[in-house]
């Protein structure tokens, strides 16, 4: 659906996706806007399916356009399938043809009097609802549910408004009925139990609450702000507190302070904010204070592409910071995963007393996806506090086999200690001798071993032995999974390795995977190939490893992955022929 500001595109998408979720369909919805802060063009893509879906999908089967002029502004972003059903406003001053959109013969090109119908229904502004009506009748959508959704949405404030909207919907339905039915182009399904409809940012925030986070400090930044907003609304209802700080330096500082005080804490930001947090993360590592930072990646460098996705904060997350400063980095690959990754981040951070960064990105953070409520459960681990016995002779930084030691919190009588960001001894006293530094560096890095052993979340898809093995991370998962299914149908053996743990990396698992595939293809959305180069720091990739990388600003598409796979098999096919 594409239209101008005021056409209600977003509302149209909301109603459609809510209705889908209500009937237990799988839904993924994304929105896009023009540069205008408000009143500019907007587009919304909703994918509905009774089967599992992992990506927004490259091409839309049904396209509704209220304004061809605005459609042009989303060139390359909203792509109709060759056989798409295209509905457009007959009153649109701009004219387009099937050919202009490069559609095939089997595409359906339907002019609809959207504006007129809305006007007749006495609700000029309701082109979007009329559109819903036409679609419902034409391709067969859950009519009853959509009606209820409309009622809820518009009737909320004034019942009359709701009724008007329903009138517009019915008008659309009636018109749709006059058109040759295209039910085959719609979806057939039996309504199931309702699903949650949630964005990745909401899932991250929810994960934090579930993990026991009771202090959140943050500074707004696109595309992460929803996490701050969610926390600000819900934490007070759970006895927690939120501070919108003056900047990101203060946000991460307050988080470290609250955690020092014994309260699970986190912040959320995007690239520019993460860069500003670099120094304070070093303090958290040095003073061994747990803290969680969610970084919703956007296009960089600098202010870059604030509203678009990219996977280019990897190096910043793993390597940034002066000195040798170990911290953990976890990636989230879809909406549900944002929940689990955040809980995991708290578990690791609290157990091992070091900062944990969760990398998500705009595509996962801001898209809405249906989830099964039953899956939003995750074990929660709490920080080890000293026992009475341990308090008897307490050393904050006691050098233990696992590298971390019980952390006392204000209120514990015997647990009083003074700490700092200087190198220090087991008691926390400043010490600048090489021997102490070596010993404490060793202590801080020693934690990585148990973490690596205990947290090995990796995903492996595809056959046990494969001709092509794709290694990627984060939001690339969706497109890769769908491409894998397509390859499977073609009988091509392709597997994928997608780690949740970025640092410390599950090296063993990766090396087993490398052994299980004939050739490796690394895929990432980073011009500098940050993931590929990062992999090289700890593992030796086969000589013939392939790399597909590009800048962000556009999510990885299924067809990009599919092309890579096809080309690979085409080539290897040639090689075999050659060999034969």
């Amino acid at each position: 659906m594409v239209g101008a500001g005021g056409d209600g595109i977003v509302t149209m998408g909301d109603i459609l996706s809510q209705a889908g979720a209500r009937d237990g369909l799988n839904v993924i919805k994304t929105e896009a806007y023009g540069p205008q802060i408000r009143g500019g063009e907007s587009s919304c893509v909703v994918r509905l399916s009774p089967d599992a879906i992992y990506e927004q999908g490259d091409a839309v089967d049904v396209l509704t356009v209220f304004s061809w002029a605005d459609f042009g502004r989303f060139k390359g972003e909203v792509q109709p399938a060759p056989n798409a059903v295209v509905l457009f406003d007959e009153a649109d001053p701009v004219a387009r043809t099937k050919e202009d959109l490069g559609l095939g013969a089997d595409a359906h090109w339907i002019a609809v009097p959207f504006s007129k119908l809305a006007g007749d229904a006495g609700a000029k502004g309701s082109k979007n609802v009329v559109g819903l009506g036409v679609l419902t009748a034409l391709v067969g959508l859950p009519q009853a549910t959509i009606r209820r959704a409309i009622e809820k949405r518009f009737g909320r404030k004034k019942a009359a408004v709701g009724e008007l909207a329903l009138k517009a919907f019915d008008a659309g339905m009636l018109h749709g009925a006059t058109l040759a039915s295209l039910k085959d182009r719609g979806i057939t399904f039996t309504p199931g139990s309702a699903k949650l409809l949630m964005s990745g940012n909401e899932a991250s925030a929810l994960g934090a609450l579930h993990a026991g986070c009771r202090f959140f400090a943050g500074y707004p930044i696109t595309p992460s702000t929803e996490i701050l907003q969610f926390a600000e609304e819900w934490l007070p209802k759970m006895g927690g507190s939120v501070v919108q700080t003056e900047d990101e330096l203060a946000a991460i500082g307050a988080v470290v302070g609250a955690s020092f005080a014994g309260v699970k804490s986190m912040t959320a930001t995007s690239g520019p904010g993460l860069s500003l947090m670099t120094e304070m993360l070093g303090l958290a590592t040095m003073a061994e204070v747990p803290c969680v930072v969610v970084d919703v990646q956007r296009g960089g460098p600098s202010t870059g592409l604030p509203t678009k996705s990219e996977q280019s904060d990897l190096w910043q997350a793993v390597f940034a910071g002066h000195g040798d400063a170990p911290r953990v980095v976890i990636a989230a690959s879809d909406v549900e995963d944002c929940f689990h990754a955040t809980v995991e981040a708290f578990n690791i951070s609290e157990e091992f007393q070091l900062p944990v960064i969760v990398l998500t990105d705009q595509s996962v953070g801001q898209r809405r996806e249906t989830l099964d409520p039953a899956r939003l459960v995750h074990k929660v681990i709490d920080r080890a506090v000293p026992t009475a016995a341990e308090l008897a002779d307490y050393k904050r930084y006691r050098d233990t086999p696992e590298g971390f030691s019980p952390m006392s919190v204000p209120g514990m009588k015997g647990g009083i200690y003074q700490t700092n960001g200087l190198e220090h001894d087991e008691e926390g006293r400043p010490a600048s001798m090489h021997v102490v530094h070596e010993k404490m560096n060793d202590k801080r890095y020693r934690k990585l071993k148990p973490i690596r052993e205990k947290y090995t979340r990796v995903r492996r898809f595809g056959p046990e032995k494969a001709d092509l093995g794709i290694v990627c991370w984060g939001s690339s998962k969706g497109a890769v999974k769908e491409a894998l299914l397509m390859a499977e149908e073609r009988g091509q053996k392709v597997a994928a390795f997608i780690p949740d743990m970025i640092f410390p990396f599950p090296v063993k698992a990766l090396e087993e995977f490398l052994k299980s595939v004939k050739q490796v293809l690394v895929i990432e959305i980073s011009f500098a190939a940050q993931f590929y180069k990062y992999l090289r720091t700890f593992t030796t990739l086969p000589e013939n490893t392939l790399l597909f990388k590009r800048s962000g600003g556009k999510n990885l598409t299924i067809s990009e992955v599919d092309d890579q796979i096809r080309t690979f098999f085409a080539k290897s096919g040639d090689r075999q022929k050659g060999a034969a």
Binding site: Q18, A19, A21, R22, T145, A149, E151, K152, A194, K195, L196, L197, E202, L206, L209, H210, R214, F215, A217, W234, P236, K237, M238, G239, S241, V243, T245, E246, L249, A250, G253, A254, V256, G257, A258, F260, A261, G262, V263, S265, E279, M280, G282, L283, A287, L371, P373, L376, P410, G411, M412, G415, I416, Y417, Q418, T419, N420, G421, R429, P430
Partner: protein, 293 residues
């Protein structure tokens, strides 16, 4: 907030002393501040395990290491953000932030502004020696114009700020000035600052004998005099009269108003949020994401 003074044990100043020897130069003004703090804490019988002293980086910021409470000598300029986290997440803990003029007014200036604006539940003691001590004598935001330092060979070209004037404009609800050479007066003011609910700012002139010479102590001593009795501490305009002083150093309470502290306000928010109802649960929140129609 400050824990109610326990009946037993009665703490004496020495109880707040750690056995770490200060790295300060012999004669450093910060010794006076430390001693005054011990006495003030004892006078108010602060519970050590329910008190946290937080600082940034600098000679003065080494202070938490010498106070037997939970202590955190953090990074340069970030004492107040860390203090914010402690104070907001643990309203039961008395939080004291300390640091130098470089730490609090140069790199940390923005946090000073916003902590004061929020009326954060923190007592902030700034040890003002008009110089960067730890880094061996560079110009600070409080170094008088014209002074020669390691980074002002030709005399400081920049005007100085008056930390107390800043505090008032930021919205601090308690603002005082002390001279570490006057132990009794400093103790009294620290006590008052600690008793204030909300953001209390105390600027203590604390000489740096190494980089400002002995003159600094002498001139400050000569200039120091208490604010005349009858000063109206509730008026910003009146407070202005004791700022940007040149020939005198007025010590005492410049400004004081009683308004709800940040924690008071966040408390109210929690009440409004719950509106009498039970607190939210994660499963409950999850339900709100189910389409309900």
């Amino acid at each position: 907030m400050s824990a109610a003074p326990p009946v037993l044990p009665a703490y004496v100043p020495g109880d707040y002393k750690t056995d770490l020897k200060p790295v300060w130069c012999p004669g450093c003004g910060d010794f006076g501040v430390l001693t005054a703090l011990y006495r003030a804490m004892a006078e108010l019988q602060l519970t050590p395990e329910l008190t946290a002293v937080v600082s940034g980086i600098g000679c003065s910021s080494r202070l938490p290491g010498y106070v037997e409470t939970y202590g955190f000598n953090t990074v340069h300029g970030r004492a107040l953000p860390l203090a914010t986290g402690v104070a907001v997440s643990r309203p039961d803990v008395k939080v004291i932030a300390v640091g130098g003029d470089g730490d609090g007014l140069a790199i940390g200036g923005n946090h000073f502004m916003h902590s004061a604006r929020r009326n954060l539940d923190v007592t902030y003691i700034l040890m003002d020696n008009e110089i960067y001590g730890l880094t061996k004598g560079q110009v600070a935001p409080t170094t008088p114009t014209g002074d020669k330092t390691k980074t002002t060979h030709y005399g400081n070209p920049e005007p100085a700020v008056d930390p107390c004037e800043l505090a008032v404009s930021f919205g601090a609800t308690w603002v005082g000035r002390a001279f570490s050479g006057d132990l009794k007066g400093t103790v009294e003011l620290i006590v008052k600052a600690l008793q204030h609910r909300g953001f209390a700012f105390l600027n203590v002139m604390s000489p740096c004998v190494t980089w400002r010479g002995d003159d600094q102590f002498k001139t400050l001593k000569a200039k120091a005099r208490p604010i005349p009795a009858g000063h109206d501490t509730s008026s910003r305009a009146e407070a202005m009269k004791y700022t940007r002083e040149t020939d005198v150093l007025s010590t005492g309470v410049l400004y004081e108003v009683k308004t709800p502290s940040l924690n008071d306000r966040l408390d109210t928010i929690k009440k409004t949020a719950l509106a009498g109802g039970p607190s939210a649960t994660v499963p409950g929140i999850i339900k709100t994401f189910l389409p309900s129609f």
